[in-house]
């Protein structure tokens, strides 16, 4: 019985998870090395990858900063009532429940060129939708809960005794944070950041809706893969997809490594 179940599990994993990954790993070499490098070094691919990199940096910085601070407030702040904290705490999860396409639609509905806010900003010369700011906002929305959800449990676990002790001994807020709180939440922030980077790299639906997928302007790596497939340019799509997949698998392995190292 035991052998049967283990074999069955292996088969499921091999067919469902293994086969697609193997297929994409060798599919990129259908036309040899030149097909692969051609797919990656064409100008639109270079631009799309740069765009994705830029969004990753901006989104990680902003959500890293605000995520850690909001997690701190939600766990520690005395100026927020418990009721308010509870409501905010459940709202934090909402982006997980929102389909990326709908997330993108929300931004278009609020800040699109046809809306009051959008036209106002347009007159001021700021383009949000179909430009970089909109794409950043959409990705910020989608990745918002990741860091908070990693940091909050750790903060709850360590309690606030050490922080209070530091405070009583006369340490300023900043010193307390850097010397006492930060060392204990450091790794959970790293996990949150890794998850945010992975999610941002792969974000597709929300970015597609908000960006309009304009070549050489708002095209990201994932939307380029989509366009290549629509144009039946499968080898080129596969090259970009392989790079994206390698990045996310690398990040996943890094997480596993970091977690096992910390556990031991």
């Amino acid at each position: 019985m035991k052998a049967l179940w283990i074999t069955l599990t292996f088969i499921v994993f091999a067919v469902l998870l293994g086969a697609p990954v193997v297929r994409i790993a060798y599919g990129a070499w259908d036309e040899g090395w030149s097909g692969f490098s051609e797919g990656l070094t064409r100008p639109e691919a270079v631009h799309a990858l740069m765009m994705t990199g830029l969004i990753v940096v901006i989104v990680t910085l902003i959500n890293g900063l605000f995520g850690v601070m909001l997690a701190l407030y939600l766990v520690r702040a005395k100026w927020l009532g418990p009721q308010v904290k509870r409501i905010m705490n459940s709202i934090v999860d909402l982006p997980f429940a929102v389909s990326p396409v709908i997330g993108g639609l929300m931004i278009v509905l609020l800040l699109g060129p046809d809306t009051a806010l959008g036209s106002l900003l347009d007159q001021a010369g700021v383009k949000i939708v179909y430009a970089l700011p909109g794409m950043v906002i959409a990705t910020l929305f989608v990745t918002f809960p990741l860091i908070i959800r990693e940091v909050m449990p750790v903060l709850q676990e360590i309690g606030d005794q050490q922080e209070e002790a530091a405070h009583l001994l006369g340490a300023y807020g900043w010193t307390t944070f850097w010397r006492v709180t930060w060392p204990s939440i450091r790794w959970s922030v790293v996990y949150g950041v890794v998850l945010t980077v992975a999610r941002t790299l792969g974000e597709f639906g929300a970015v597609l809706v908000v960006s309009g997928n304009i070549l050489f302007k708002t095209q990201t790596a994932t939307t380029l893969v989509y366009e290549d497939v629509e144009n039946f340019n499968l080898t080129a799509a596969n090259a970009v997809a392989l790079v994206l997949a390698a990045c996310s698998v690398g990040l996943l392995l890094f997480m596993e490594w970091a977690k096992s190292r910390r556990a031991s």
């Binding site: 179940w5 994993f13 697609p20 100026w79 389909s99 396409v101 709908i102 893969v225 497939v229 997809a241």
Partner: protein
């Protein structure tokens, strides 16, 4: 004194900045989409939803997501059980592979499925010889949904199995229960909350899935057009009201699912 004043100004600034960020980024858009869908009244919302293409897309999505969820509930229960209970070479490798679908970009998943199930692939040829086409038909959508939601049930079941007291199982054996009976009377009830909450999350995710599905579904209205692709199409063809109506329906459903799962989990941990 000046130091204190500075400190207070700083903390006020931070507090309002973080709260403002939270409200503008998360609360505002969600309220906005509900407002937009109701801006022309209930009747307009209902009219947008009763559009044949719209409700057919919603029904199709719900149907396929349900199939994918049942598949995942079965596979996930088995895999979760095997990964926790048995020790065998390759176990930790499989355990790390579980999270793969969450890590991979959905557009990449779509391309994988396209290459794997397409008419030129081995699976495609084999299905063709049996008289089926997978790609651009319902099976491809289900496979994509199963892949994307694969980790939910496993990850929900595993902690429950780890917690399960081995003595309960042993007691059942000692009292003469067969292996099957022990499984159905002792182990399965312990796993049930995980299977249910994992399945609900998987269902909600499958309903919302876009990237993996858009590339492998034929997107033929009324036949292989799923809800998220319908929403995308309505945005592209400049009909935000139609897109918002279906979005609100999906959103409300997802929020309810999330809420139920939360209630179940807090009740379990609060006990």
């Amino acid at each position: 004194m000046t130091n204190m004043l500075q400190n207070r100004w700083w903390s006020w600034g931070f507090r309002s900045a973080v709260l403002l960020y939270f409200v503008l980024l998360i609360v505002f858009p969600i309220v906005g989409i509900y407002g937009q869908s109701l801006s022309n009244g209930w009747s307009a919302l209902v009219a947008n939803l009763t559009e044949p293409i719209a409700w057919k897309a919603v029904i199709l999505t719900a149907k396929l997501a349900l199939v994918a969820t049942v598949v995942n509930a079965l596979i996930g229960t088995m895999a979760g059980w095997v990964l926790i209970r048995y020790r065998f070479p390759g176990r930790s490798l499989l355990n790390s592979m579980v999270d793969l679908p969450f890590a991979l970009p959905t557009a990449v998943v779509g391309l994988m499925m396209l290459l794997l199930l397409g008419p030129r692939s081995e699976i495609g040829k084999w299905a063709d010889s049996l008289g089926y086409t997978i790609l651009f038909h319902e099976p491809a959508i289900v496979v994509a949904m199963v892949f994307v939601t694969f980790p939910f049930v496993i990850r929900a079941v595993q902690p429950l199995l780890e917690e399960l007291d081995a003595s309960e199982e042993e007691a059942a054996y000692t009292l003469g229960a067969s292996k099957a009976k022990t499984f159905f009377r002792v182990i399965l009830p312990a796993m049930a909350p995980g299977i249910v909450s994992g399945s609900m999350l998987a269902f909600s995710r499958a309903l919302a899935e876009f990237g993996a599905v858009v590339l492998v579904a034929g997107n033929i209205p009324g036949r292989t057009l799923v809800a998220s692709v319908y929403i995308f199409g309505q945005i592209e063809s400049d009909n935000p009201a139609g897109a918002a109506a279906v979005s609100v329906l999906l959103l409300t459903f997802s929020f309810i699912v999330l809420w139920i799962v939360n209630v179940v989990q807090t009740r379990r941990t609060g006990r």
